[in-house]
């Protein structure tokens, strides 16, 4: 999940915070039912969705999954990010998409749509700088077959002001270190080209890696390749815990009856360490973790697998599985007041099911 998690103390004070800020004015503009839902929730989330008529949008939701507002999108979105400093959220087009939409969850600005420059497309994820003034997006230089990080100026209409390498192929999710000085990029290692749609072009010679990049210079700090026997383990999604440890989740492109490790962690300067999940948990995740999130306050890591129809909670300190549930078509996951809230392609979000298909990721936009 590529978003900046605010301090955990804010999770439970979110309602008070947003009702005393712009949220109060926003609430006054909502339909009565949405305003009521908003008044009772402790956190607000945003997720992209597909409506029954095939149209796409992004919605804000309560912790219980009640939809507060919907904003239409020009095409399907994938990952999301949010800046607690500027209260700007971004929905990135699904690869090989070419747009990203910036909006304010409290509707305080007109949404801004940016498009990828010639020779690039978005990979579906990005994150803000610590001060919210810069937006980073994972992009594909498909002619050069190299991953790039596009840099956008949040103070100037999100104009593209530069780029630097992701130091790998097929960058997907990315997030910001807790000190704000480092980007963590999951280079999935899979070559794609818009001429060939979503076809994975190099499954027999993948190069997955995790790269730590200096936000100030774009220079590579560290790069962790997958071990030789796990070259088909695509590193896809990342998040960071309260100690600054990086957690990553993978999708395996090798034999379906292999039982590879599917998640792991490392801190700067250390080697990566895979989570040693029980076999039944690995089987439940179906060699495919679609989303990862960290609940920093509770020290938990959440994983979802749409292919396995499972949501798993792991103790970040011990690596022990503390909960595993069946959730058909499990999609997004994000920290909740206690533990996690998860969504699904079948419209489940927390305790509510809506007549939409929630996309693969959600972000908590608690401060409104």
């Amino acid at each position: 999940m590529a978003y900046q998690t605010i301090s955990t103390g804010q999770i439970l004070t979110g309602r008070r915070t947003f009702l005393t800020m712009a949220g109060a004015a926003w609430a006054a503009t909502l339909a009565p039912q949405a305003a009521f839902a908003l008044s009772r929730t402790d956190a607000i989330y945003a997720s992209a969705f597909m409506a029954p008529d095939g149209s796409y949008g992004v919605a804000t939701l309560t912790e219980a999954g009640e939809i507060i507002e919907r904003v239409p999108l020009p095409a399907r979105a994938h990952g999301m990010t949010w800046s607690p400093v500027t209260n700007r959220a971004v929905a990135f087009a699904r690869r090989p998409g070419t747009y990203a939409m910036i909006f304010a969850p409290d509707d305080s600005i007109e949404p801004i749509v940016i498009t990828s420059v010639e020779g690039r497309h978005f990979y579906g994820h990005g994150c803000f700088s610590a001060d919210g003034r810069v937006l980073y997006a994972t992009e594909n230089d498909f002619t050069g077959n190299r991953g790039m990080i596009g840099v956008y100026d949040g103070t100037d209409g999100f104009a593209r002001i530069g780029e630097f390498p992701s130091y790998g192929i097929g960058p997907h999710d990315m997030t910001l270190s807790t000190d704000g000085h480092m980007l963590v990029v999951a280079n999935g290692g899979i070559e794609t080209h818009p001429d060939f749609g979503r076809t994975k072009l190099n499954l027999d010679h993948m190069e997955p890696s995790l790269a730590l990049i200096d936000t100030a210079t774009g220079a590579l700090i560290e790069r962790h390749a997958m071990p030789d026997h796990l070259r088909q383990l695509s590193t896809r999604h990342v998040d960071i815990d309260a100690t600054g440890k990086i957690w990553f989740a993978c999708q395996y492109e090798g034999a379906r009856n292999d039982l590879p490790p599917l998640a792991g962690s490392f801190s700067r300067g250390e080697d990566i360490r895979f989570l040693d999940l029980p076999e039944e948990t690995t089987l439940a995740l179906a060699n495919y973790v679609g989303a990862i999130a960290v609940n920093r306050r509770d020290g938990l890591v959440g994983l979802t697998s749409p292919k396995g129809g499972a949501a798993v909670t792991v103790d970040a300190r011990t690596g022990r599985v503390v909960r595993r549930i069946s959730l058909a078509d499990a999609a997004g996951i994000a920290p909740a007041a206690d533990g996690f809230v998860a969504s699904s392609y079948t419209g489940t979000f927390g305790e509510t099911r809506s007549r939409v298909a929630w996309d693969q990721h959600m972000v908590r936009v608690g401060k409104l």
Partner: protein, 375 residues
Amino acid sequence: MRHRHILLLGLSLAFLPLSVMAEDEEAAAPRAGLEQEAVAGVMQKAVDDFVRPGYRDLLEGTETLAEAAHMLCVKPSDETLGDVQMSFDEVVQQWSTIEIVRVGPVIEGNRFERFLFFPDRKSTGLKQVQRILATNDETATSAETLEGKSVAAQGLGALEYVLYGTGAEVLPTEKNGFRCRYGAAIADNLKAVAGELHAEWEKRDGIQSAWKSPGPNNPIYRDGKEAATELLGILVHGVEAIRDQRLRPFYAGIIKGVPDKGHPKMAIYWRSGNTMPALSANFTALQTLFNTADMKALLPDGNADVVTAVNYLLQAIVDDLDEIDLPVEEAITNDEQRGRLNRILQNTNDVLQRLNLDFGAAIGLSSGFSFADGD
């Protein structure tokens, strides 16, 4: 009014089971389901009655092509050139049939690209072929050394240029000329790739076994749903690929009320006049796989309309393609033929929705195939 648990919401409640979950006002549609017991039979038919015959035909076609290409070099004449061109057309048909299967051995070792490098948007492949011809690069005249060159210089696109491109007039007169020997090496390479694909699919304990018997120990499909989803994926990705890589690049349809001017030289096989026959073979192959594998058996009762619609649309597309007989650049400017192209694009979008959303939903992919295609 729904029940609320906000104040109590904890880990256990955040992960409430669906059975106790409140429903939004708009209830979700009931899910359809995959006919699990039909999956093994469908996969067996897909392998034995479509995929294996497809690669076997391709191998036979490339063997004939290679033989004809070598004969042309030894005995150049209009007749032996005609034999090569006829064999080339046949291989284009065979490849356009089996190329819809973009999974398995064909996407390993760059086999797909070695057989066909397309699209070639910036003419990088064309330039390499032209450089080989201009410099008489002898390393391009044997399949063994050709394999080490760019994939763009060793497949159907390269051979088409050798047979129909600038300078091809030397072929019926020049004995053992460079151009002919390069063409023969490409044909040998195509035969080698087709042979590898045929051999991989004929291994009894190889991919054919994996396709036919989904299960916990299977290296590809752990269960019937994974197998059925991938089979549907061949159709969905197939239609998408044809639309986005083969149709739209040369004619994008009506844009803001105005017909696209088109880019005839972006059309695949335009030099040999195989554009429409290849497209026709693509769509025919999709329909053949759909019916030969008996994919309707995957659907629960009450979904016959999906099958009827898919067949109707695919057949309509093929019928229109078979009626487009002008060269691409003329077809785009001819009202009647352009109308057919417009209808083909429309029906292509329609059949994609039918497969992706309707068929996908009917076998239990709640939001359609593409939505659950992962990322």
